[in-house]
Symmetry: C2
């Protein structure tokens, strides 16, 4: 261990709108000592995901918020420095819910051992981790794409959206993605094989959906909510299926934003809208990971990482993501 301290990002205040760096505090703590059955892990890769904004609130979500003064919550990939458990040795790579810190101890039952020969270990935080599984179950189980369907995904170049669109393509759909820059649109169309993209910052999403989806939208995977979702609801095909995965456009509003009352669209189209969490499919995660791993290994599914170097940049990177600054799965690599 090169340093004798464990740096941690803690939550120092609850933001009412977009989070600011001052909402976090970098603390130093002793490096913890593993108990029997535990591992000491040095963090190498940390993930930043939109759901973390909800954890900064006190209000009820699907899991409780982070306490003020506590280490921010989140998954990471790290290397085992010391093992007091069977089956995992020093030098092994593991995925764990370490939170935002450079070292943590974890019970061996709470980690997933990674094989660097199968895929880069960072993918356990993205395409072969929670975002990939979210895309997999949201697309295949919640929406249920059918060959010939017109399928729309928002935040299409992001960690979840990119996998969603590629699985919808594999399922025989015409796939249209929305994203916030021409570069992102070029990526989803040219590199990922989407049929079309809409830059929501420079184009009217509703007008473009009208042009691109003359027979309406059969499947919609929603990561953003707000005006993009309003536009989709104006173009539903009969029997449309909508998966509500995220509503990032709303997470940083200090108060509940107002929007058009448009549930009648569901009635007219006899459409189904389903909110879901990846955890509800936990029993099937291993089988899905196997399939995703095969698709990544043979190049069927491509992924892109946006790597920020330096543990100290965690808050800045999270804030940037809330503004759409990242391009691909946002990860922070520790200097260690």
């Amino acid at each position: 261990m090169s340093e004798e301290i464990n740096r941690q990002w803690t939550l120092s205040s609850r933001p009412s709108g977009f989070p600011e760096e001052s909402d976090f505090e970098l603390r130093e703590a002793p490096i913890p000592v593993p108990d029997h059955g535990e591992l000491l892990i040095r963090t190498e890769w940390l993930t930043l995901d939109p759901y973390m904004r909800g954890r900064m609130n006190a209000s009820k979500s699907y899991t409780p918020g982070v306490e003020i003064g506590a280490v921010m919550t989140g998954e990471s990939v790290g290397v085992v420095v010391e093992s007091r458990a069977e089956g995992i040795s020093g030098g092994d790579y593991v995925l764990s819910r370490s939170g935002w810190q450079e070292y943590s101890t974890q019970h061996v039952s709470a980690v997933r051992k990674l094989d660097p020969a199968v895929a880069p270990v960072s993918t356990a935080l993205g395409v072969l981790g929670m975002p990939g599984l979210t895309a997999y179950f949201g697309t295949l189980d919640v929406i249920g794409p059918k060959a010939g369907d017109t399928f729309v995904v928002s935040a299409a170049s992001g960690a979840v959206g990119a996998v969603v669109g590629q699985i919808a393509k594999l399922s025989g759909c015409r796939v249209i993605g929305t994203a916030g820059s021409d570069e992102k649109i070029a990526y989803i169309v040219d590199d990922l094989g989407f049929d079309a993209g809409i830059n929501y910052k420079t184009e009217s999403v509703s007008d473009r959906l009208g042009e691109l989806c003359p027979d309406g939208i059969d499947g919609y995977f929603d990561n953003v909510g707000g005006v993009t979702t309003d536009a989709v609801l104006d173009h539903l095909a009969n029997g449309a299926r909508i998966a509500i995965c995220g509503q990032i456009s709303q997470y940083n509003s200090p108060a509940t934003e107002m929007g058009p009352r448009n549930l009648r669209s569901l009635l007219v189209a006899q459409a189904r809208m389903q909110g879901f969490l990846v955890y509800q499919f936990a029993a099937r995660h291993p089988a899905a990971l196997e399939r995703l791993t095969r698709w990544v290994a043979n190049g069927t599914i491509k992924y892109r990482e946006d790597v920020v170097e330096g543990f100290e940049k965690m808050p800045r990177a999270l804030i940037g993501m809330m503004h759409g600054a990242n391009f691909g799965k946002l990860l922070v690599k520790t200097a260690g």
Copy 2:
């Protein structure tokens, strides 16, 4: 035929908010002559239903709007005056899509023959007709009530809501209804056996739902939309199922009303919201009608009719319904 003319209510202008009597015109036409295979029917009972407001618009709904100058659309029950078809004779009662007029001709294949011995013929427009079937499929198929569920229905004393709540009770749910007067609340609780009611005009629906549903709402059958539905979304149990049947609170807004963006509630509760139309279950209507008929005959399901006398009162009765003036299934009985 006591009169030689056929009175018809036609659409004379498209309302932008609540309809007014001046949006309709009472016209006189000759009594039509039935062709081979057709029946001449004298209307006895006309139904008024919330969906008719949508038919007064030019904008796209699930079926096209009524043309200006055309007879208003709708079902009725009438007596056959002359039959040129086999299987139905003069004096028989039939259900048909006559529109708002005192006489119509219909092909025999487009009518349903009614048996006055089984139930009063007017029930074919309510509990044993489209509203009853809507309640049946929306409750049993779209929501899927489970014993022990907490179940909420809006417009609970109406033609659809009253049947919804009684079927949910039969399914073992705790049932709470919303309605717009203390008299209606007393009816659903004392006469129909609901567990509780909320008068949305005098109580805070959200506060009362919080008190009445400490474990959240598992099933919600929505006839109204707007603030009532907002309140329900604030109290969803995990895995909640919502059927969007009607949004009457929105039908008379000249422009799209704004409301809180609350789809995140679906995400947090992993809830499903499904818009539906009774027609999508058409193949199963006969079997459902058989069951509903049995339930009505043995008193398991009760119903209430609000009868307005006089064909000339059709527009006024429709407008009253839009303001919640009716109490039970709204019907107009012709003087004939």
